[in-house]
Amino acid sequence: MAGGVSLKTNLSGIELATPVLAASGTFGSGQEMSRLVDLRKVGAVVTKSVTPQPVRGLPTPRMVETPSGMLNAIGLQNPGVEGFIEKEGPFIAGGGVPVIVSIAGKSVQEFAEVAVRVSKLPGVAGIEANISCPNVERRNQVFACDAQAAGEVIGTVTRMTHLPVFAKLTADVTDIVEVAQSCVRAGAHGLSLINTVLGMAIDVETFRPRLGGTTGGLSGPAIRAVAVRCVFQVARALPEVPIIGIGGITDADSAIEFLLAGASAVQVGTANFYAPHSMVEIAEGIGAFLVRRGMSSPMELRGRVVTPGLPAEPAYRGG
């Protein structure tokens, strides 16, 4: 890159060519997309979440477009950890792009099972724990909505693996900082902020929900401001912890917003569906921005947001 700029990023020990990663569930493991995108220019791929057993998923419709975003309710359809390894193992071992495996489960034990199995798979760069799943042992309370349950999963997973573990958090909580602190205390090497935001859409002709699963996860630019706020709050409370910013990133400016809020890297999700090349363009755009501002690394942007007269906690809501 021109002007002595390097996009190389070290994320909790994982060496990335760029700070722009593919978000879970939007890029496969990279194999499917390799015909449309030069994977050498992608920071890393976070896989679709893997569970111990195969999961069939939810009935259709599984997707509905909403203003500046989309809702999805897939229900974690995946071939189970053995099917995943059979299908994706050789590609991951090939090392064409760093692969972070997203794991999910219905209990702490299930997370542990997948973590152990995935850690033995050659070439895996890290684990992202998708803790926005219902916990069957606690009346289907979502792990990520309870600081203690989130910490239990992360504590168990980090003990089961030598790989860096990222906890993927949801914004659907009263205090995301509390959940983030619990995960970090439990040993998380980094935090992925944020997962989709719980949403719903209704068909006014039929009076029915527009998703087979009734509610679903909202993604796309519609949630970007929520995500930037979460990264900002967590980065203020935990300045040493690497944060991956996620939520409606479509171009270099929106990625830079997350870096300024305190993220060390970003994930692109929904944009991959309609613009598979966008991760490459975003990375190039960050490089051009750094050159223009006379900087040499994306890390120089991290947490640089200027907030004179920052109001006291809790965060200012306006109105």
Binding site: G25, M33, R56, R62, P67, N72, P79, G83, G220
Partner: protein, 298 residues
Amino acid sequence: MFRQKCEVLSVKRLGAYHSITLVAPEIADDARPGQFVEVAVPPEREFLLRRPFSIHQASRKGGWAGTLEIAFVPVGPGTRWLTDIEAHDFLDVVGPLGRPFPYPTQPNSCLLVGGGYGAAPLYFLAQELRSRGKRVDMIIGARDQERVFKAVEAKRLSVQVTITTEDGSLGERGKVTDALPGMVTRCDTEVVYACGPNPMLRAVAEYCAEQRLPTQVAVEELMACGVGVCWTCVVPVIRRDGSGWDYLRSCIDGPVFSGSRVWWEKWLGGRSAPIQTPPQGFQAEELTVGRAASWPAG
């Protein structure tokens, strides 16, 4: 699979429908009937996702070589935007995508059934079947005359044609499925191909299952990516060995499925039926599509 910036060669109206012809040499060269393309909508809009369109025509030789035609009806913001497209505009297109209609090796008498603008890919299919020495007959139906897709072209391509309209404004009054038993008998049909609204596909597939006639249907389900990564466009499909069913992606494992293996009740609702067993006797030519088979899902 390619991503190309394609120049619009021409736009035209086909009754109630719109058609766009694009200059897309690589995609046209690879395209097979039943496959689709994904067209990007412009940035800075409130809707984001590409729109899938089945390929109406892909021309490889002659004056139209290297062109691709899609047909659509403006129903939502994406397709409404497309109606403003003019010749020499550029569209960002990914394709060809999906599993195409397989060609039969053994059976020779093929009946093609199309409803509304869903009939669009059947003309490309008819040409390919004819070039392989197959007999082609067609049933083309719609709500009214305005919505019958290319009746003249259907007559040109097939031995026998039945046109149906629900209001009787063209051809026989009724639905395509009303004309199906008579055509199957008259044409000694051995294989049925269908494309159109999902309830129509279901009716065709259920009739053909009773008659033990192999069917190939091109389905439609809401889709975010079109390339196999989002898992939104799934359809419940019964396993070949009848041991159960899986949600398969219509973008990669479809959009063309064997009509007898789609679990229609599960997918579209209605009465529940026991798991069907697929009729035998349809040997598809080896498919040479440019992508590997997908995960054994579920």
